[in-house]
């Protein structure tokens, strides 16, 4: 299954969850599936979208948070699984799209790509509810379990274009500060409390 198919399936059942996207494939893929300007698209800090989502989940326990992560990101922040396991906030769903490469680097191999069993790593870290899926329908079923902390490893085929070339989705057309203000104003409205102060900062 391609990342595009997973993103399209998630978009079809997206029901107001706060979405945090790792930079690269996840951010560009979610943008292309939704054209949503109220997700948080990381433009740096590779590996730490899951930490960002964890902080948001702790700060907004009344709302569900989806972290759309990648295997490259998870590999950069494996220690974050321990932190996540120590808290396991019931409103956090952590999805790892596992394509065994750096898609944004045109398929450059990932360390130990294809051999590391991330689900077992997560379970060994202490995360109780871990799933492995290979079909978008199974991912949808897992993300709709709304009463517990969940980590899902989704097996993804690297994106390829004509003649087997690795391809990237088009990037989203805004960046840094605009992402911050769009998302922050969105969470303000949804949560009914201020993110920014009375002077706008």
């Amino acid at each position: 299954m391609t990342a595009e198919e997973y993103f399209d399936s998630l978009a079809a059942v997206w029901d107001g969850e706060f979405v945090v996207c790792a930079l690269g494939e996840s951010a560009n893929g979610w943008w292309n599936a939704t054209h949503s300007d109220v997700a948080y698209y990381m433009h740096g800090a590779m590996g730490f979208a899951s930490s960002f989502a964890l902080g948001l989940a702790l700060a907004a326990p009344e709302r569900r948070v989806w972290a759309l992560d990648s295997d490259g990101g998870l590999a950069m922040n494996l220690g974050g699984l321990l932190t996540e396991a120590s808290l396991q906030p019931v409103n956090l769903t952590h999805v790892v799209l596992n394509n065994h490469c750096y898609q944004s680097l045109r398929g450059t191999p990932l360390v130990n790509g294809g051999r590391t069993d991330y689900a077992s790593v997560a379970r060994a870290a202490g995360i109780a509810d871990v799933h492995e899926v290979s079909e978008p329908a199974d991912l949808v079923r897992c993300v709709q379990a709304r009463d517990r902390h969940t980590l899902i490893i989704a097996d993804v085929a690297p994106r390829r274009g004509g003649e087997g070339r690795f391809e990237q989705p088009p990037p989203l057309p805004f960046e840094g500060p605009e992402i911050k203000y769009r998302f922050g104003r969105h969470t303000e409205r949804e949560l009914g409390r201020p993110v920014f102060g009375p002077r706008g900062y």
């Binding site: 706060f18 945090v20 948080y40 990381m42 433009h43 740096g44 800090a45 590779m46 590996g47 730490f48 979208a49 899951s50 930490s51 960002f52 989502a53 964890l54 902080g55 948001l56 989940a57 702790l58 700060a59 907004a60 922040n77 220690g79 974050g80 321990l82 932190t83 120590s86 808290l87 960046e175 840094g176 500060p177 992402i179 911050k180 998302f183 922050g184 969470t187 303000e188 949560l191 409390r193 201020p194 993110v195 102060g197 900062y201």
Partner: protein, 170 residues
């Protein structure tokens, strides 16, 4: 550091902090114990310091005031994340960091941090305040407000003279 740790916790709470993420060094450990015990603060202990950057930045968007507590060595591990997230996106982040420099810092494993962290903060454009005496702890709530205005990492450095009561800037 008993009294100083209590004062630091009180100052963070006066700033409105209800979430802290941390990784200890020996200087900030007493403050972390206070954070663990305080029922009004959610304290997250992390495995590596850049998680602090992500957690506190995400909490900002939940309308929660968060602070990271770490050592100088830990701060050095966060430079890419601070630049790629907080500077690039303009997200305020308040950090309480041990300032492992000055005449009292004679630990071999802190030597390079001692020469590096202040010029590095200057180079990166991170504003900071140096808390080197107990009476300066009251600056922390003001520094927290300033961090929001500046929309980037803002550091409250804790010195060893703060911990020992020595009459020296550092």
């Amino acid at each position: 550091m008993t009294n100083v740790a209590d004062a630091l916790l009180a100052a963070l709470k006066e700033a409105g902090v209800t979430l802290a993420a941390s990784l200890p060094d020996d200087w900030v450990s007493p403050l972390l114990a206070r954070l663990d015990d305080d029922p009004d603060v959610t304290h997250v202990r992390v495995a590596r310091e850049p998680e602090i950057v992500g957690i506190c930045s995400g909490a900002f968007f939940g309308g929660v005031r968060a602070a990271g507590v770490l050592g100088s060595t830990g701060l050095l591990t966060c430079i890419s994340e601070l630049n790629g997230l907080n500077v690039k996106h303009g997200i305020p982040l308040f950090l309480v960091v041990s300032l492992r420099t000055g005449v009292y810092e004679l630990q071999t494993f802190q030597e390079t941090q001692a020469r590096t962290v202040l010029p590095l903060a200057d180079t990166l454009g991170f504003p900071y305040v140096i808390i080197d005496r107990p009476e300066k702890v009251e600056l922390i709530p003001h520094a927290f407000e300033a961090s929001r205005l500046h929309k980037r990492p803002y550091i409250a450095w804790l010195t060893k003279s703060l911990l020992t009561g020595a009459q020296s800037e550092f």
